[in-house]
Amino acid sequence: MTPVLLFLASGAEAAESSGGGLPQMDTSTYASQLFWLAILFAGLYWAMDRIFLKKLGGIIEERRNRLADDYDQAAELKAQAQDAEKTYIQALNDARAKASSIAAETRTMLDKEIAAMQAETDAKLSGRVQAAEASIAEMQVRATAKVKEAAVETTQALVEALIDEKPTQDAVTAAIAAAT
């Protein structure tokens, strides 16, 4: 137990040996403490103000600016992308319209061509038909004439065989015309 008491007692002893006061109240040390405090604090202030904080503040400011710039840039890029999208859609619509117009044009052109070809073919065909009809009519006329001739000749031959007299052609013709 004695060491504890010894320790506690030593505090008072030490205090008595050093003039009995708090070291903090020893005014003889004040000048040196103030002097070195002033020098060191001023030095630290100078270093902070002129070097460290300037640098640190600068980099923080720069980062803030950079971030703001990046945001601006991002907004700009976004606007650009939107513009591009708009142009793309515009182009797409244009192309679509153009394609449909081309298709319509082609269709009308083809229709016209087809119509023209049809008309030509029709004309050609009708020409042929007319020619055929004409030749048929001619052939009919000729055939009729031949039939009449044949009828006349047959009648002549028949009459000759029957009455042994050959009637004239005109009489036979007249008779046939009357019979038919």
Partner: protein, 269 residues
Amino acid sequence: MSAVDHLFAATAFAGPMEQFEIVSIFPFGTENINLEFTNASLWMLISVLVASAFMFAATNKAQLVPGRMQSAAEMLYQFIANMLRDATGGEGMKFFPYIFTLFVFIFLCNLLGLLPTIPGVPHALHVFTPTSHIIVTFALAMVTFLLVIITGFYKQGFGFLKMFVPTVPLWLLPLITVIEVLSFLSRPISLSIRLFANMLAGHLILKLFAGFVVGLLAADGLFKAIAIIPLLGNVGVFMLEILVAFLQAYVFAMLSCIYLNDAVNEAHH
């Protein structure tokens, strides 16, 4: 036992006040004014060097994407800047370097004073807390106090005196004005005593508990076992002291900000 003997030899017969004694390291000054470099000066110098080394490491290769040191320094920067901006509303931002230096200096003086002394080294090299001396804290408080007065009169002229005349009923005015003036004048005293007394009390308690441990270990038998109680107590007090080292630096810096606010912004009583 040798380690304990060592500790015993180093501390046991030194009183709890021994840690605050100022010892000369080399003499300096004139015959009338003693400006010797002492252990107090040494530990102030160490604090300044640690602060400078930290800030140098943080800003040496400053990058947009900060490293570990730079992040810590930037956090401290933002912390102090926010404190000052909250108190003075941006008007007082030109005091930022001062508040920053004040905080870092006080914090490091407080914190480095908590380091354990290497047993057996000469007294001049014992760990010392400069902020446990009233003259140091009073000088720092006076810097803030004078800064407030000078800035106040410079920015507001005699309108600065309006802060002592709040809008109260006329018959109360003389009393209130006297109280305001007294409270204004007591600011540096309360600032300096708060910091000094906190440091003094913390280190006294640490030293007393440590003395109990050493004393009980030197006793015989059962007393050795009891030594664990003040040891655990000292661990707790030590952690509390780390908190106090930060808190007192913070309070000192923040109260300085609030006092500076009176100087840069007109009073709104």
